[in-house]
């Protein structure tokens, strides 16, 4: 099938559903989901750390599954439900994982944090993590140069075990003294 250079750069109309809102955008076919989220929809919560699927900072949820948005062309996601960190919770109404990250000081610079949290949401839904050791293994695609790993695992484990418990526990909001 012949493809000329013009059609490769011709903008494509795409409808993206992000955090429950519908966005109709004209984008180059080469645009990644990450760049469209950040530069065109101004949803900068999803971070660019490597742009090649090696760091996990850009992790978002697509139809509930965690994906590296830098490895997705935006056009592939037409019609899919995308959830970014902005859609998980707001400062005044945090998602349980967001609250647990604050309580456990599970970040320092905060740059990998949205990806860690989105990845953790997806990972817990996958249902393969049953304790810290599996969390460590299954979260290894999300790098943290500040080295907050032990606190991240504690935060995720707290939410995971609360989910498994018969009654829902709310994560503690203040770290222990």
């Amino acid at each position: 099938m012949a493809q000329d250079a013009r059609s490769a750069s011709e903008p494509v109309a795409v409808t993206l559903s992000v955090n429950g809102e519908t966005h109709s955008v004209e984008i180059p076919p080469s645009a990644t989901l990450l760049d469209v989220l950040r530069e065109r929809l101004h949803l900068t919560g999803s971070k660019k750390g490597c742009d090649q699927g090696q760091c996990g900072a850009c992790t978002v949820l697509v139809d509930g599954r965690r994906v590296n948005s830098c490895l997705q062309l935006a056009v592939m996601n037409d019609g899919r439900e995308i959830t970014t960190i902005e859609g998980l919770g707001r400062p005044e109404e945090l998602h349980p994982l967001q609250a647990a990250f604050v309580a456990h000081d599970a970040f320092q610079c905060g740059y990998c944090t949205p990806g860690q949290i989105c990845s953790a949401v997806g990972m817990l839904d996958e249902g393969h993590a049953h304790g810290p050791e599996e969390i460590r293994e299954l979260m290894s695609g999300n790098l943290c140069r500040c080295g907050a790993y032990t606190n991240i695992v504690e935060a995720i484990e707290e939410v995971r075990s609360a989910r498994e418990a018969p009654t829902l526990k709310t994560p503690k909001l203040e770290a222990a003294e």
Binding site: E39, C50, Q52, T84, P91, G110, N142, A148, L173
Partner: protein
């Protein structure tokens, strides 16, 4: 002082936490402006030589391209180094001038800047720029350059050269029966913060610019860019409210700042330039360092001589320096010490400070040599350290301002279970894994820098404190809010902190662990000044119940200024503010280190690090299963953020010990693993159990007793792990990282 301290000393959650976990914290590449265009830098494909020609014809015809700048067509730049030296972290030499001429100093050097309408078009066009070069063979391995090592460089500002020799280390060593002399090497590392280097220049019209750039201190890029591009400082504002990690790499301005600003000025429009992960390897790095440590001792373990020699890589154009060997004259009591520090030039970009610059390298070598000596003596490694414990700083012949290292050793050893260690290497085992226990000591200077801050209290009881420092993840926002909340006995929810903006009171770049002590004390002073203002206002109110009150006799609590002796006599903050005729009262305060104190005392932080590793005997896979880091670092302001600082340092130390290595191709002079897949830094699966212990010290170097924590966590960590690997395997690997191939 009348106030109590309900916040300082507690594990208070980060005040910026909610913004970070919800993606609302804005980093340099996350600001927008109408009509903003995108830039992409084109890297050189050679490491040394000259550009002969650049072919822009294809790139210029690519969709969306607005302009392509090269050294041939760029706007005018200064033809001397002088303006470029307006960098508070500059090192001796001739600073790198981006896009200045045809000379190539290192692989990946930016040779062109593409400006296009979209990010995608800029990136695509950048891939179409080609160049021809006159290439020379580069040297990128410091071992190949060691025969040209020199110590005739101009000393770097703030970096003490090695102290002169004391005693006669050489003769003592020669005459000793118990001695060792070994060479050590630590592979070059890159900081690799998660956030890419980025600058967004917002064209505000009429030559005014707001520059959002990744930096550890906004005043430095502002000073630099104004000097280099001849801009009016009144028309340039630099902000960096959130920094996605830096670890030293964002102390100096990098080429993204100059290139993006140049493009914005030329086109009179807003420009965003984000470097790629690969381009993160074209700037500062932890220099490749060759070290030799020679020790001699009496049979009771008393050290009789220490000699430490380091040769460190630097670039062709600058003499970057770190305090690498000085620690060997400081950490242990020893009468005969010779320290030597040299540089060797290679064809790379200038190294830069990376978490505990110098100490992380020098103390790795010293602490592994000490471990080797402990086996030579048949002595417990911890006993050997205690035997040679330094009660004063022998480099400068000064007592320590405080030093609770002994307590750190003791508490760390207890928590770790050091007494369970069997002395012989390869003597501990768990199934198919060899178990090793090792320890090491860490040390870092407790520094301070002049800082200013302001505090503003408004009639509604809200307090704002501000300082032009940075929070690179260290917790600055939070500790400044804690200090300020305590000063006025306010709920911390009513306190906001502002940092990272050149509109705020002056601060230098944040680094060297001086941030908390310096900015913290500046905020303390600003709050004290604000109290004075408020009391003056309160006293001036008609029939004031505080008419004759002096500052020493009043308390600021519960929203009121009250006489300590008679709490009924008081004026509310709101009434005092109302007396000013405005809705708020603001005061500024400055802090500078106490030079007199520094003349008399040496101030350092210390750590005792204990590591347990498990090594698969067949596969050589090393797992770090337990670390205890016991820290003696003055007053701890926030147990949560302080602990996180240490955890981060330890994890980076694990990377240094076992994983991290920037590899240059020796023929091309190019980093071959310039990505996060092949440059392995610790991931979740690598990090298990880390205990942090704080041994508090009562230190008088500053009124808050703060020493700083950013560096100390990494110092000693790699040595403790390396020593544990020896204890597990009986194999001494003297080149970091200890990868599987070196163990098999």
């Amino acid at each position: 002082m009348s106030n109590v301290h309900p916040y300082v000393g507690r594990a208070h959650p980060r005040v910026d936490g909610a913004l970070k976990v919800t993606g609302r914290a804005k980093y340099a590449a996350e600001f927008f402006a109408d009509g903003m265009v995108y830039a992409a830098a084109v890297p050189s494909t050679i490491a040394k030589g000259r550009i002969v020609s650049i072919d822009l014809s294809t790139a210029k015809g690519a969709p969306g391209v607005i302009d392509i700048l090269t050294h041939e067509n760029r706007p005018e730049l200064p033809d001397s180094d002088k303006p470029y030296l307006n960098d508070m972290v500059a090192v001796p030499g001739s600073p790198f001038r981006p896009l200045y001429n045809d000379r190539i100093f290192y692989s990946g050097q930016a040779i062109a800047l593409v400006v296009a309408d979209t990010h995608e078009n800029a990136r695509h066009a950048a891939s179409l720029v080609t160049a021809t070069y006159e290439a020379k063979r580069p040297t990128v391995d410091v071992a190949e350059a060691r025969h040209e090592a020199y110590d005739t460089f101009e000393p770097r500002d703030g970096i003490p050269p090695p102290p002169p020799p004391r005693g006669d280390a050489e003769a003592t060593f020669k005459g000793s029966d118990i001695k060792l002399s070994e060479s050590y090497r630590v592979a070059p590392e890159h900081h690799n913060p998660m956030e890419l280097m980025a600058t967004t220049v917002v064209w505000e019209g009429d030559g005014a610019l707001t520059i959002h750039t990744k930096t550890q201190g906004v005043n430095n890029p502002k000073m630099y860019i104004c000097a280099v591009l001849g801009l009016d400082p009144d028309k340039v504002r630099v902000t960096s409210p959130f920094v996605g990690g830096a670890f030293g790499m964002a102390l100096r301005p990098h080429y993204d700042l100059l290139l993006a600003t140049m493009a914005a000025l030329k086109h009179e429009r807003s420009v965003r330039l984000v470097l790629t992960r690969g381009q993160m390897y074209t700037m500062g790095w932890r220099p490749d360092t060759l070290q030799t440590v020679s020790l001699s001792a009496q049979d009771d373990g008393t050290l009789t001589s220490i000699a430490h020699h380091a040769i460190q890589a630097t670039s062709r154009y600058e003499d970057y320096q770190e305090p690498t060997v000085n620690w060997s004259g400081l950490l242990y009591a020893c009468p005969n010490v010779t320290l030597k520090y040299e540089l060797a030039k290679i064809d790379v970009s200038t190294p830069s400070d990376m978490r505990a610059p110098g100490a992380a390298l020098g103390l790795y070598a010293l602490e592994v040599a000490m471990d080797e000596m402990s086996y030579r003596l048949g002595m417990n490694p911890l006993e050997l350290r205690l035997k040679n414990y330094a009660e004063k700083d022998q480099n400068d012949d000064k007592p320590f301002s405080s030093k609770e290292l002994k307590a750190a050793y003791e508490k760390g050893a207890e928590r770790f279970g050091w007494s369970n260690r069997s002395p012989e290497p390869r003597s501990m085992r768990d199934g198919k894994e060899l178990v090793g226990l090792g320890m090491a000591t860490g040390c870092w200077e407790a520094m301070m820098m002049p800082h200013s801050a302001c505090a503003t209290l408004s009639a509604d009881g809200k307090l704002k404190v501000a300082c032009g420092t940075a929070d690179i993840g260290t917790g600055t926002y939070t500790i400044l809010a804690q200090i300020a909340a305590d000063a006025f006995d306010l709920d911390i929810e009513d306190v906001t902190t502002e940092v990272g903006d050149t509109d705020l009171p002056m601060a230098p770049p944040e680094g060297g662990s001086w941030g908390a002590a310096s900015a913290g004390n500046a905020v303390r002073v600003a709050c004290a000044e604000l109290k004075k203002e408020l009391l003056t206002l309160a006293r001036g109110i008609d029939d004031s119940p505080l008419a004759n009150a002096s500052l020493d006799h009043v308390a600021f609590s519960n929203g009121r200024i009250s006489l300590v002796s008679d709490g009924e006599r008081s004026v509310s903050y709101a009434d005092a503010i109302a007396a000013s005729g405005g809705g708020e009262v603001k005061a500024e305060g400055s802090f500078a280190p106490d030079e007199e104190f520094a003349e008399k005392f040496a101030a350092f932080t210390h750590s005792a690090v204990f590591a347990e590793v498990r090594v698969d005997e067949q596969l050589g896979v090393v797992r770090v299963t337990h670390i205890v880091s016991a820290i003696a670092a003055g007053k701890i302001l926030n147990l949560a953020t302080a602990r996180s600082q240490i955890l981060g340092g330890v994890v980076m130390g694990m990377g240094m010990a076992l994983h991290e290595e920037t590899m240059w191709d020796k023929t091309l002079g190019r980093v071959v693993n310039a990505n996060l897949g092949e440059y392995h830094m610790p991931a979740h699966a690598d990090v298990q159990n880390i205990d942090v212990i704080f041994v508090e010290e009562d230190d008088k170097a500053n009124p808050l007793g703060i020493k700083g924590l950013g560096e100390i966590g990494i110092v000693g960590a790699a040595a403790a792990i390396a020593n544990a690997v020896f204890h597990a395997t009986g194999k001494r690997v003297r080149e970091l990282p200890i990868t599987i191939d070196k163990l098999l």
